[in-house]
Amino acid sequence: MLQWALDALLGLGLLWLAWCALMSPNLLKAIVLFVAFGLLMALAWVRLDAPDIALAEAAIGAGLTGALLLAALARLRFAYADEETVGSPAQEEAKVRFPQWLPAVPLLLVVAGLGYVVLSLPPYATGLSTEVTANLESSGVSNPVTAVLLNFRGYDTLLELVVLLVALLGVWSLDGLALGRETAPGPVLDTLSRFLTPVFILVAAYLLWVGAHAPGGAFQAGSVLGAAGVLLLLAGWRFRAGLTELPLRLVLVAGPGAFVIVALVTMLMEGQLLEYSPEQASILILFLETTATFSIGATLAALFFGGRPQDDKEHT
């Protein structure tokens, strides 16, 4: 009963927060509510026995996306000021193009239809869990989610790392407005970032290591690392000039690059792409996860930074 009440409250809270975030007339409020929505999502993942996703959501959904949105909002107001169109909240108000109820009618039908479909699914279905369990022994790790991500469906993960790289290439090719320098961070923020950075790195290393047999892994570790980068950037730290060129790009490419090389090598040795021999599987997965962690962390921090780092050097 209590379980049920908890789930119902969480579900209602999610819907309510989403509705308020999407319909709030004030953009800052919308973003704060969206961050809160992300926090509740993480709780929902826990209730659904998905701690791996809860970790990823806590780091990305509630943390980095929130920081990205807040930073974008700040730059948006700056852009308004630039154009000398007054950045009054009136401009940010939820402008509605046509009668609000018009699209609501077909969408209610969509909800009803999809709801019916979801409810019509059989209450028990094993999916692929039996296959995963049967092959977990030879996958090199004992956390089934990591086994799927890095072994059974490792090819998806390779392409997913490419998606991250593509997003960064896109942001850089747009000449994104790089994070400007702002007022001095002050002693508190300075100390906070000095103290927290090693903690972030330790936690990332821990998550990376623990991912083989418990919830965690490259994405969670990488996003925690990325968050450390974001904190450092916010505290006023900038790329050192010498490191922005090839070294930075090498780190960004390390994850997908190592994946492709491992894919090629395993194909030459075993015959199929990304086919690990069972003895080497765990060490290969650890290698891939480590490089992926660095790349994910660097990419996320660079996405937050927004522009090509050398632009910053040229301007100052």
């Binding site: 209590l2 409250l9 409020k29 950045g87 968050a227």
Partner: protein, 92 residues
């Protein structure tokens, strides 16, 4: 004990819902961010209780990441999104 953990988690969630009011009401951006901070702290507490009910220590890691990331969002707010135009002109 299970019942107590669940009941407390439920209580904290309700408590959270009440705190939501401040996000709506404002009046200043700082108030909204403070309530988001409350959200983070309470979510950590709920997570710890849920970890206890599921007897899954991995959930402690989730709480750990929560605690770390809450700071990042808040700092992002203070450093970036907090404009000088102070009082939000709410239409509410």
């Amino acid at each position: 004990m299970q019942t107590l953990y669940l009941a407390l988690a439920l209580f904290l969630l309700v408590n959270l819902g009440a705190g939501m009011w401040r996000i709506f009401r404002g009046p200043t951006a700082a108030d909204r961010m403070l309530s988001a901070q409350l959200f983070g702290t309470t979510a950590v507490a709920v997570l710890l209780l849920l970890a206890q009910t599921k007897e899954n220590t991995a959930l402690l890691d989730v709480a750990l990441v929560f605690a770390l990331l809450a700071a990042v969002t808040a700092v992002a707010f203070v450093r970036r999104a907090w404009t000088d135009q102070e009082v939000d002109h709410d239409s509410e």
